[in-house]
């Protein structure tokens, strides 16, 4: 759901007054986007459910700091991405993230550099649909959080470079070069997991 500028301004005014009905509307309008982003960043549904709630609580508390120079949805993405980065660091410190996300054969293989699956006779037929998605998800979980954020925002959430610049606070050239490095790192992680080069 995307609100037009006027509707968004009115909603923000109501949010600033801590209007509960307006906040309910806001959460219902944006929960799918926020949850999808958080789930993709964390790769763990239980953590994502918890963190998505925290994102909305942060908005409720700090809506006064929203200056209106970006769209509300873009600002919300920034709040969500910052939460994700902090949570990833926290989970890394607890050394649980690696176990939660990768505590299976495929995950172990990815971290150890071994193959997730045996090399198929015809690699061109191997990377289809759900299988490709699983491999990519696992590989995404191995990227450092900055790279993961860029790939998620650009390639999974479909945001423009301009929106990503607003969310990350990075200049355009940096977004482009880091996104390229992030995609290259993702490709390496996928190929490491597969045990063979991606077919052309």
């Amino acid at each position: 759901m995307t609100l037009d500028v006027e509707a968004e301004r009115a909603l923000v005014e109501r949010l600033r007054r801590r209007d509960e009905a307006a906040f309910n509307l806001f959460v219902r309008a944006y929960q799918a986007k926020v949850f999808s982003l958080v789930q993709r960043m964390l790769g763990n549904r239980a953590e994502a459910e918890d963190l998505a709630q925290e994102v909305f609580i942060t908005v409720f508390r700090s809506i006064d700091s929203f200056r209106g120079d970006a769209r509300l949805g873009t600002w919300l993405y920034r709040v969500a991405i910052n939460h994700c980065k902090n949570r990833i660091k926290y989970l890394d410190r607890r050394v649980t993230r690696g176990h939660d996300a990768l505590d299976d054969e495929g995950g172990k293989a990815l971290t150890e550099g071994g193959p997730v699956m045996s090399r198929p006779d015809r690699p061109d037929e191997s990377m289809q649909g759900a299988e490709m998605a699983r491999v990519i998800e696992r590989a995404l979980g191995l990227l450092e959080e900055e790279h993961r954020a860029l790939v998620v925002l650009r390639d999974l959430e479909g945001l423009s470079y301009e929106e990503i610049m607003t969310i990350t606070g990075l200049p355009e050239g940096t977004v482009k070069s880091r996104l390229h490095r992030a995609r290259a790192a993702l490709r390496e992680a996928i190929e490491r997991g597969l045990g063979y080069k991606l077919p052309e």
């Binding site: 009905a21 309910n24 459910e49 709630q53 609580i57 390639d155 999974l156 959430e157 490709r187």
Partner: protein, 151 residues
């Protein structure tokens, strides 16, 4: 003429059509001239296609589409009680200042249209109940028989 490494560094921007026309032409010429680079770019594009397919697979169904079964719901779909959870946390952390009453919570969980419809139905039922009472007033109870005079 770009070197192979320079071309590789431009794969992302080339794919996203973020290069100037001159740069785009230079990358295209380099790809045309090198079969290995072409294969690398094709593999790169295949990975990005996989990402696009993932994104498309988890998008919500179009309005008007039949409701998906729970098992068919995208795994990126938010939990149905996300709003309720947010409300509970806000109530607790604000010491009851926000979302203290059940009504404001219910208003968020149920669509306003549904609440309005339910209220209308309740009013109609109440009105019907009042008008379905017999239109003729019940006969007044017969006056008590006068007491027999005492002898």
């Amino acid at each position: 003429m770009l070197t192979d490494d320079e071309v590789r560094d431009l794969f992302s921007a080339y794919h996203d059509r973020e290069l100037s026309p001159e740069r785009t032409e230079a990358v295209r010429a380099a790809l045309d001239a090198s079969a290995p680079l072409q294969r690398e770019y094709a593999a790169f594009g295949r990975m990005l296609d996989g990402l696009s397919a993932m994104a498309a697979a988890s998008e919500a169904p179009l309005p008007g589409a039949s409701a998906p079964k729970a098992a068919d719901a995208p795994k990126d779909a938010p939990p149905p009680d996300l709003l309720e959870g947010v409300q509970r946390r806000l109530q607790k952390r604000s010491g009851g200042r926000f979302y203290a009453d059940g009504w404001s919570r219910l208003a968020g969980i149920l669509p306003l249209e549904l609440i309005a419809t339910l209220v209308l139905i309740a009013l109609v039922i109440a009105y019907a109940a009042m008008t379905m009472v017999s239109p003729h007033p019940a006969p007044a109870p017969a006056p008590a028989a006068p007491a027999a005079p005492s002898p």
